[in-house]
């Protein structure tokens, strides 16, 4: 969505236009839900976080500064809410707790479903600051700069966290025999 269009919709929301709100929510909800799912590994928690994220963002939209990008703002709320949710439930998920993604590829369903669970479990094993950069990179399609804006950290920190996160994931997936070293 172009920044100008986004700003128009934000302004309309600030004036109480619920149609504009509908368009904004529809545009971002899937990405926010998927980012939350990958942060939390659980569809129910992801739905809760998605809902809370939009409620917090939209009910405070009169305070939104158009100098910032709306998506940066909303993803930041989503990431923080996901982290808060993790703290609240004091997550101790194991591989078996991660709910599998439904219906992957047509011909390798069993294999890729299992691998998908393992990859998600390894993602869940990362510290939150590492997991959040991976999620924003892979599931929200953000650049280093955008991740930095969202998480309020310098780009070089984004880069180093992504580096460390990938290294840890690679090592763990090698240990599971999913990646050959």
């Amino acid at each position: 969505m172009h920044k100008e269009r986004e700003n128009e919709l934000v302004e309309a929301c600030q004036k109480g236009d619920r149609n504009a709100m509908d368009i904004l929510v529809r545009h971002y909800e899937r990405t926010v839900y998927n980012a939350a799912y990958r942060m939390l590994g659980n569809p129910d928690d992801a739905a809760d976080v998605t809902q809370v994220t939009f409620i917090k963002a939209l009910e405070h939209i009169d305070r939104f500064n158009p100098k910032f990008k709306f998506f940066s703002w909303i993803y930041r709320i989503a990431v923080n809410e996901s982290i808060n949710q993790l703290k609240r439930r004091k997550s101790t998920e194991s591989v078996s707790d991660i709910q599998a993604a439904p219906g992957p590829g047509p011909d390798e369903m069993l294999h890729s479903e299992q691998v998908g669970k393992e990859v998600q479990a390894v993602l869940m094993s990362l510290r939150e600051e590492y997991r959040s950069v991976v999620v924003l990179k892979y599931f929200s399609g953000c650049s280093y700069r955008e991740i930095g804006e969202i998480l309020q950290i310098p780009e070089k920190t984004v880069k180093s966290r992504l580096f460390s996160a990938r290294q840890q994931m690679k090592d763990r997936l090698e240990g599971l025999g999913i990646i050959t070293g």
Binding site: E29, Y33, E59, K87, G103, Q152
Partner: protein
């Protein structure tokens, strides 16, 4: 053993963030090192696995539920004129929530001329009891002027921050080294302030103009009288301007 330089180049290439010169350097190193090529293959596998993770379908009713539960703020010229706006972010079962709601309601809708000291009164409403001043920090640079003071009121620790800055300033309050139990934040929103809370270890705020805000913690069951330090970092555009510590005591 390959060095971090080639690993960094490979990571950067995966993200499409390398310059032509860096790409050429990576190609050269890959041509010379079997180990670097293995590292690239492993990272490419990881990248592919992450990209292959399927998109999750949202629950059918979620969109409608979000729309149903959002009350958009109704903006009016008078409400958002030059009046100071007060707002509180109250969560996690804060004990004085009812008092805060009342106070926020009064300040937000009823006042165009709040006297100095009202913020402190509002803090007092949220955390009754005599204030014991514990520690403070003050500095002034070309970009920002700020004071931060830490006080205790009974079993509540309160950090009051005042800021005056021409450009957006990020303030990071890191309390990871303490056993403080985060409760809430309170803002005096005369300018632009966005507060982002990482409830267990830090609070971040971005502010521009004149601003006051406060962070509240409860005493944790496991707290000792002497806590670890709270670290404050002020930065602009990702560059650290000032860092300091404040030491809470019960």
């Amino acid at each position: 053993m390959i060095d971090d330089r080639i690993k960094n180049l490979i990571n950067g290439a995966m993200d499409g963030e390398l310059t032509d010169a860096e790409l050429a350097e990576m190609d050269q190193q890959l041509g010379q090192s079997e180990e670097a090529r293995r590292y690239l293959a492993g990272m490419a596998d990881l990248d592919a696995y992450l990209k292959k993770l399927p998109e999750q379908a949202m629950p059918d009713e979620l969109h409608a539920e979000i729309l149903r539960n959002v009350d958009l703020p109704v903006q009016s010229a008078t409400k958002h004129s030059n009046a100071r706006e007060w707002s509180g972010l109250y969560r996690y079962g804060f004990a004085a929530a009812a008092g805060l709601l009342l106070a926020v309601g009064i300040y937000q809708f009823g006042s165009d001329s709040i006297a100095p000291g009202d913020f402190d009164q509002l803090v007092g409403t949220m955390a009754p009891g005599a204030a014991v001043e514990l520690d403070s920090l003050a500095f002034e640079t070309d970009e920002v002027r700020s004071t931060a003071s830490l006080e205790r009121r009974q079993d509540t620790m309160i950090l009051n921050i005042q800021l005056d800055s021409a450009e957006p300033i990020e303030v990071r309050v890191d309390f990871e080294g303490t056993s403080l139990d985060f409760q809430t934040t309170l803002e005096d929103q005369r300018s632009n302030l966005q507060v982002f809370e990482g409830a267990t270890s830090e609070v971040r705020a971005i502010s521009q103009g004149q601003q006051k805000f406060a962070v509240f913690w409860h005493r944790a069951d496991t707290a000792s009288d002497q806590e670890g330090a709270i670290t404050l970092e002020y930065s602009s555009d990702g560059t650290l301007i000032r860092q300091g510590t404040l030491v809470p005591r019960w």
